[in-house]
Symmetry: C4
Subunit: 115 residues, 4 copies
């Protein structure tokens, strides 16, 4: 890259950074979506049960709790996860815009150089 | 491989591709067979129990359900897995035939070249 | 090793093979001892319980069984594991003897060569 | 490093060793803190339950025990973990002091060499 003008090197560096940030956010979003799915699956399962109690595992201990208490906790968890997920989604959108912008700038800078 | 005639290179490339597809299918089949075994083991275990209820874990929540409901779900799961497993088995058979065919073509192409 | 006489190369090859077999057996033994410990821990835990039933997990299904049935299964498991563990221990002993023997032969072969 | 005086090489070697010991202790401390947190979470969970029994998992067996017995075991575990954690903390402190001391000695030794 020693041959490339500093402006192009600078744009390429920014582009790489934005791509790395984007990848991190995409993987964090996927993780949160996994947690949301798991909590929703647990809620669905609880609704199939006729019992008004269920167990919750913490480490190797299984504790009997009221079904409604577990449901409330799961709903709160889902809300918290969804807030975070939506925040990440907004960040992802901004990074994608920034990526497009940088790619255009880079193309144009390379065009100028080639011309 | 620059020394090999294009026909041989082409066959060798196809052979490699078929071997990779075969490996993927074998590993997917093994995974499904694991799932089928686990579901069948759970069914066996339920049949040993005198209780008409059992628990099912979703994440860290354990939900009390009717034994027959869990059994029905397990049977459906097994059927779905077996359909997919059988599809993979047919694909595996076809790929093994294709592998033999390519190996023969390659042997014959190499024989012609050596002669 | 091209400089070493064939007899020494042969002994070194056998030594390496025996060492690999020994390592495999040691790791299989450690695995079995882990399983034996886990089953014994479960037996101990069952003996602390005042209930005459307990649950056993198969995949994500938890099945209620008589305590004595689970205890019987655990005892059988432990016996099976211990038989296998003892077999491995005998194999380990033989391999250790073979290792010592090969090391002595190798030392003596190298001594002859050096002299 | 062949150009460096033996005293500097010696200090650099000691420094590296202390850094490795420090890293090991930090990771052991983090592991213990994870175990302490898990046991405390289980205690909290048990306090939310209205039942006077709970289950404890050993391998795939879930055993019904008195809540107070599980609580007592958890409290003992926490105490044991905390004693070990505090020991590691003291060792960490000593190693950090030793690290600072070695860094100063190394700086001064390199200063002498440069002067």
């Amino acid at each position: 890259m020693g041959e490339l003008p500093p402006q192009v090197q600078n744009l390429a560096g920014q582009l790489q950074q934005v791509q790395q940030q984007l990848q991190l956010i995409i993987s964090q979003k996927a993780q949160l979506e996994g947690l949301i799915k798991e909590a929703k699956d647990a809620l669905d399962e609880l609704q199939k049960s006729e019992s008004d109690v269920a167990y919750r595992a913490v480490g190797n201990v299984l504790v009997k709790l009221k079904k409604e208490e577990i449901e409330k906790d799961l709903q709160e968890k889902i809300e918290t996860y969804e807030v975070r997920r939506n925040m990440l989604e907004r960040q992802e959108g901004k990074l994608r815009d920034r990526l497009t912008e940088l790619q255009e700038k880079l193309r144009s800078a390379l065009g100028v150089q080639a011309g």
